[in-house]
Amino acid sequence: MVRRRKAAATIAAAAALSLAFAGCSTGSDSAEGGEQTLTLASAVDINSFAPADSRDAHYVQYYQPVYDTLIQIAPDGEYVADLATEWEWNDDQTTLSLTLRDDVVFTDGSDFDADAVKANIEATREGTGTSSVAFAAISDIVVNSATSVDLVFTQPDPGIIRQLALPGGAMASPDSIDAGTLADAPVGTGPYVLDEAETTKTVQYTFVRNDDYWNAEAYPYDRIVIKPITDATARFNAVRSGEVDGATGDAINAEQAEGAGLTVTTSPGPGFQGLFLFDRDGTMVPALADERVRQALNYAIDREAILDTLYDGSGTITNQVFNPKSEPYDESLEGAYEYDPDRAQELLAEAGYADGFSMTIPEPVYANLSPLLTEQLGAVGITVDWAQVPQAQTNDEYLSGKYAAVWYQLQSSDPWQGINFWGASDAPWNPLGNTDPEIQAAVDLIRTTSGDAQVEAYRALDTLFVEKAWFVPAYFPDAVYFSTAGVDVDAQALQIVPSIANYAPAS
């Protein structure tokens, strides 16, 4: 997801060939006649419909029409039943027991059952999709009966529920898995089937109703068409001219979109943007080893100015790394680092850097950001030299250990996934392997607790991150969605695009 965001951000430079003038022809034709069609533009193109190869974020819209997942995420972020009616952890958090529906058949006629779950999870674990790494923690899949299956883990993995709700947890027909045909010919239990005659790769994908679907009323449209349009402006143009009913948008265009009669749906975004301080041990930039210097950085950044400039203020300012929608999020930590350049200078002086210091870090991929950062950090005496990193090598370079810090956006909607991503001492986005005994203890505690105790443990960790200033979190940019007047769209919590079930013809 992050990679895609980055690609999207760089391409957004190619961006917005949009329109200065009003007077466009809007209006959805989806409500005409007896058959209802929903046409969406997607920011990405799908390469394979096989859940084993799947990615999440923008990609979910391609999988949702054809597949059900074991667990579903409600628009508000709640995990709700889908193919699994119930799920339960054992006491030491190493076994997840799932109870399955017994009335579901795949569109090729075969039954959905526990064996199908086993086949799917095994395939995804071996696959190339983004879920494969997470599923690697599943050591055993025990089929108890047709409707009961246990997933056995090598160690507790609090993030697995979310994974099961993502396309990696989509259930495909075992026959098609064996045949290896899913990439182009998806067979699932979902509300729609892919209409291959009306589908042209890279141009448009058409899905028509699965007449035998068990939950048809949740999906009001008879036909879903998804057109991959990677350029942001082209996408906006497509919505504006009514060629599609909905598409991901840019916050800075929200006002003009509304002016043109589009509906703008804004929801809190899943990932936070900010400075990842890799060199907390001070091997490259000694100053960063000092907690006060890292705090000074937090005070020096004018989060609001940046969010205003880049996203027209559409987003949530944050001082902590956990998502406001997630349980560990601690409201009381906000305000810990109000923009205060004087305080920053004081802290720097206390740390012995009254004259400031300098560091070389990669230029952020977000257009227009670097001049703001240069300005704000410069104001407190910190000189930033921007290193140019080839776009194709962004992640390589960032994770190579060459840089003391990088400004990036990483997802944190699932706290446990986040910790494994950028918080733990062996996390990839901790490339220099910074370790702190208190933080490590807090991480270990989360793994072995559950329920409120776990939330407590998370919050303790969150507080540590803020106090020790391991990061300079800035804000969560909102997910912005544009749709035509013909459709009603509910935002999906912590997901960049609405789920397919969230669309309905305007009443």
Partner: protein, 588 residues
């Protein structure tokens, strides 16, 4: 659009010599090119002096300026990050200029020496380098640049150096062709005979010729380099931290709704810069090629001469004719007050030296003067009809049926892309309305009539497959194909060898006698006149000097000029004295 635009370049077809006139002088004389040059100089100066001129740093963020429109202190407003657009614009030219210079230097350094060597020495180096150039030229540039960026990242200098390599075949071919042309010029032979070394010949003679076209090519290449950089920067594949035009354009498009004003500064700057480069290139090219489409002289009925209706009943009557060409603001008169008559079946010679206006006179009768020429005065009556009053269509019809023309240079007067047969039959079908087979039969008949041994073979041949003498016979066949009453032959034998000339003269005489047509023979050769003509009209600097019966004029010319001309003809009476040894004097 009535005032002449300098883009069209020099209107008059005066043969100007650009290499000599000097690049700068060409540009200074052309107002639009001069303006373009000023723009370019301004862009360069402003870019270099940006740190002195810009009110803000290129990356300096002004609080609250993000996406603001023009305001006091920020004449062009603020961009997406809140930076002063004017300041960025001033700085942005730098990266583009550096990239453009890199492109040009690489293209020239790679292309020109290779091309000059290939053109001058030829042989294996020519083959190898031309092959390389062909390969490079076949690469879609943008795609290769993307490949380079994929490999090494968005670094302006190496990427634009690669673009320079992509453009180098243009310079290579230019240098090669120019040098090849020069290499065969007589003055290079003369330089060689004068004892100049190759290096010196290349430096003095060859480079001078390449220089002009090189600057032209460079100006267009620079425009291309600017546009390519813009494209790459626009796609987000330029350098991130340094301001550039394409990046500004890209920023403008990202913010097109919130800040539409951002589109104009970079867009207009790019367009004006590239247009200036192109205009400079165009002005130079026009002065090199002199290749502007001739503008037609307005069709103004010529003034009638003193005696409007001559009671001369000859087949052709020309009276008081004046022909002018536009020159500067005025008109240069090349033929003035020319008059003569040709009776049916009469052969009249029109003689004079170069510049006498004899060919212009002939073309005016045919109605085939260049479009920029105009007949300002006079009358031309043919068979009782006023030709100057006739419509172009009428005159065209007359040309195809009653008046025919034989040109001077046989090879260049046949269309190289069509067979002889096609060229002979086309008028037969179009003008005389013959069927395909009838036209073919008639054409073969005509070819036989003009003394071509194997008519069928010649019929199927292309012009390049036949000799000059044969080509002239073909042209004569074409001319007489319509049974004309008047045949106008413009130096019909000048380009031919004497023996062939004699045969063609014989042919013309025979055809004239057989058909009884009138002939106007334009020539500088008194021998040809003596051979063929009954009457002669002598012209000098656009005027008729003497007219009369051939025998009389040759035996007893009245005018001094005619006498002088006749006496200038070597008649073999003066022979060289035997060789007298001369002691060589050395002056130095």
């Amino acid at each position: 659009m009535t005032s002449p635009s300098p883009i069209a370049g020099v209107v008059a077809a005066t043969a100007t010599d650009p290499a000599r006139r000097g690049v700068l002088r060409v540009l200074l004389r052309n107002p639009l090119a001069l303006a373009s040059l000023v723009v370019l100089v301004l862009v360069v100066v402003v870019s270099i002096a940006a740190p002195l001129l810009a009110p803000f740093g290129p990356n300096e963020v002004v609080p609250g300026l993000a996406r603001q429109g023009p305001e006091a202190g920020h004449l062009l407003g603020g961009d997406g990050a809140g930076r002063d657009v004017l300041s960025r614009l001033l700085f942005a030219g730098r990266l583009t200029l550096i990239g453009t210079v890199v492109t040009l230097v690489v293209a020239v350094v790679v292309g020109v020496p290779a091309g000059m060597l290939a053109g001058y020495y030829g042989s294996w180096w020519d083959s190898v380098s031309s092959w390389g150039a062909n390969i490079v030229i076949a690469i879609p540039g943008m795609v290769l640049l993307l490949a380079v960026i994929a490999a090494i990242g968005p670094q302006t200098i190496p990427v634009m150096a690669m673009f320079g390599i992509l453009l180098s075949p243009g310079f290579f071919r230019l240098a090669r062709t120019a040098v090849q042309n020069v290499r065969n010029e007589l003055y290079v032979d003369a330089a060689r005979v004068s004892g100049l070394s190759d290096a010196r010949i290349i430096a003095r003679h060859v480079f001078g010729v390449v220089r002009g076209p090189l600057i032209i090519q460079a100006s267009f290449s620079a425009g291309a380099a600017v546009l390519v950089q813009t494209g790459l920067q626009f796609l987000g594949l330029g350098e991130q931290g340094t301001p550039s035009w394409g990046q500004m354009l890209s920023d403008a498009f990202t913010n097109i709704y919130a800040a539409p004003h951002l589109v104009f500064p970079p867009g207009i700057t790019i367009a004006i810069t590239v247009a200036s480069l192109a205009l400079v290139g165009n002005a130079l090219r026009d002065s090199v090629n002199g290749r502007s489409a001739p503008s037609r002289a307005r069709r103004v009925p010529p003034e009638a001469p003193a005696d409007p209706t001559p009671d001369d009943t000859s087949l052709l009557v020309v009276r008081g004719m004046q022909i002018g060409y536009p020159a500067g603001n005025g008109v240069s008169v090349v033929v003035d007050d020319v008059g003569f008559s040709i009776a049916a079946g009469e052969v009249v010679g029109l003689v004079g030296e170069s510049g006498s206006g004899k060919s212009q006179t002939a073309f005016s009768i045919l109605g085939l003067l260049p479009p920029e020429a105009s007949i300002r005065r006079g009358i031309v009556h043919f068979d009782g009809r006023d030709l100057l009053a006739a419509s172009p269509t009428e005159r065209a019809r007359l040309r195809g049926s009653r008046i025919a023309y034989i040109p001077q240079e046989p090879m260049s007067n046949l269309d190289p892309s069509f067979t002889i047969g096609a060229q002979l039959t086309e008028p037969l079908r179009a003008v005389r309305g013959l069927s395909r087979s009838a036209a073919r039969a008639r054409a073969l008949e005509l070819l036989e009539e003009v003394g071509i041994a194997d008519p069928a073979r010649t019929f199927a041949s292309y012009p390049h497959q036949i000799s000059g003498g044969m080509a002239q016979r073909v042209l004569i066949a074409g001319a007489v194909s319509c049974d004309p009453a008047l045949l106008i032959a413009d130096e019909p034998t000048t380009a031919l060898d004497v023996t062939v000339q004699a045969e063609i003269l014989d042919l013309l005489r025979r055809l004239q006698e057989e058909r009884g047509m009138a002939v106007l023979l334009v020539t500088h050769n008194f021998g040809v006149v003596a051979d063929l003509c009954q009457r002669v009209v002598v012209m000098r600097t656009g005027r008729v000097v003497e007219e009369g019966d051939v025998t009389a004029v040759f035996a007893d010319p009245r005018e001094d000029y005619t006498k002088q001309l006749l006496s200038a003809i070597p008649n073999g009476t003066r022979l060289r004295a035997p060789v007298v040894p001369v002691s060589r004097r050395k002056t130095s």
